[in-house]
Symmetry: C2
């Protein structure tokens, strides 16, 4: 079977380009027992992928030059010699940026077509939703009446963070880029939405957080963090799951050096800053997450947004937009079907 | 009763001077019922006091201009109109930088002369020891076989951190300034001691931490932290109780700006960075601490060092030395007796 795929031809310097990530055709091997041949329906595009394109030390090994870019996928089973899945079954896997894949069946999860749209397995009911759930509840620990702030708040992580915070009785303040996204935050039930691009961003953040900030769920970094830091309350918690504003930077910004200033804030306010990857919590919490989040979606207490782009050939441009914050909701490439 | 005291005449810019902290005489009021008149035996000098001299926002209110500098004290009871204490009783209080004080008896703790030298109530059995105990066990959570690194390691916090880490089965690496202090670390049972002033400090740190660093107990900041950061393991914990290398700085250092670099380390290694002040843990843990630490001292498994300077008129110079790391062990001013 031929697959059309996007490979990492060279490591991007700054913003990834189609020279870094060209499209090509390749022959897939036939699946052996214990494997399945799959047709990709949806490819998930997520900020963490920028890290995999780089060879800087990180929590996961980089994609090697010449290899297919990795990524979560929802796919249809075309062949399954061991009969673990039926032909036509829809599965969650990690097929990467390609139209077809051969994967180990042990890495696939069967999706129930009745339960929810299958694309949600890559978003609100998948890795991004679980990132929000596990990081907010385990590290952020929002208490009733506290103020939770999250940026990229219309994204799949941020929108879940804000809505779960509200379900726990906290005040949810979302930060997003542009008035359209701020309007969406109101629809999602955030207590306040702030446009990070507005001239008076800091003043608006102060207005929206009159009692300071108790939990800042960090997924963007940069100017948003700079505005949040002085408003953190004593004993504030900061789960750190991403720094997307930073992923394309190629050198340290000029001074002064504020590393010591951050440490002094951590000391003087007894802050808890904790980096995490959701995989750390899967074993202990994923089942709870699926139960809770499915229930919240079913009863309407959590809404979600998807930004679906058609065609694998659009993936690089869509991914560049993701790092700029152009997407509205979970960014998916509809590869087939 | 006349007291001789050191007041905060003006806020220091950089290193405190005797112009900032002059000695003067003052008349104390007579104690009323519920108060006691005390003669100071020992005054504790601690790095946190530099923060109280400044009006920058911090976890505690600054000392006001014209007020006596605050500080923990061990004192003898001279008068106690409510008879809560007997004349001659030795008490732990917060009398500040002066020869005599009038304090509320509710803030005083009677010291048992048989149990331990009374000066230890300001050191290994007091606030510094409890800072080490609570921060290391609650935030650092050293596991058997892990590597714990602490700087200012002959100081009252650092020496307790290293020795408690060893009692918990961890490898203890101490950092101190100068070969004399490094030799003391060996006497205290540290697995390795490193001179932060040595030219090959980073190489020695690497050699002493072949499996990386799992817990860095942060009390100094600056160049030591810069060397530690790249050696932290995934899921490392960093209790932050002080940044003494930084306390006299008057402006941010020049660039590049490494704030984002620190955040990326926190993210990519799932680090836990937590500022704390020991008061947070007093209610839950102080009784356990006293029981454990008294036992460890009695059976010889924890040793401690005191650096006693005679005379209140030496306090400012001794405090300047403390911020430079000149002291060896817990710095105390013997005020009387």
């Amino acid at each position: 079977m031929l697959t059309t795929r996007i490979v990492l031809a060279q490591r991007p310097h700054g913003e990834p380009t189609s020279q870094d990530l060209p499209l090509e055709s390749a022959q897939l091997p036939d699946p052996t027992p214990g494997q399945a041949l799959l047709e990709t329906l949806y490819l998930s595009l997520d900020p963490y992928m920028r890290g995999r394109m780089s060879d800087a030390k990180s929590y996961a090994a980089p994609v090697e030059i010449g290899q297919t870019m990795v990524g979560g996928t929802v796919s249809r089973v075309l062949q399954c010699p061991g009969y673990e899945f039926a032909l036509g079954d829809i599965v969650l896997g990690y097929g990467g940026w390609q139209t077809h894949s051969v994967e180990q069946v042990s890495g696939l999860r069967h999706l129930d077509l009745e339960a929810a749209p299958v694309s949600t397995a890559l978003g609100v009911l998948g890795m991004p939703g679980f990132t929000a759930y596990s990081g907010l509840l385990t590290i952020g620990k929002p208490q009733p009446g506290e103020t939770v702030v999250v940026a990229a708040a219309t994204g799949p992580v941020g929108s879940a963070v804000g809505q779960i915070a509200r379900l726990k009785g906290a005040r949810a303040v979302g930060i997003a880029g542009g008035p359209e996204k701020v309007a969406i935050l109101q629809d999602l039930g955030f207590d306040a939405g702030i446009d990070r691009r507005s001239d008076d961003f800091r003043a608006r953040l102060a207005e929206a957080t009159p009692d300071g900030i108790d939990v800042y769920f960090e997924n963007v970094g940069g100017a948003v963090f700079d505005a949040v830091l002085p408003r953190l309350n004593s004993f504030a918690r900061m789960p750190v799951c991403g720094l997307v504003s930073d992923y394309n930077t190629t050198s340290l910004p000029k001074g002064p050096d504020r590393l010591g200033l951050l440490m002094r804030q951590i000391l003087s306010k007894s802050l808890a800053v904790r980096g995490f990857i959701q995989t750390e919590f899967v074993e202990a919490q994923f089942a709870d997450f699926q139960r809770d989040m499915s229930g919240w979606i079913a009863d309407g207490s959590v809404g979600y947004l998807e930004d679906v782009v058609d065609g694998l050939d659009q993936a690089v441009e869509a991914f560049r937009g993701l790092l700029r914050g152009d997407n509205v909701g979970k960014l998916l490439i509809r590869v087939s079907g």
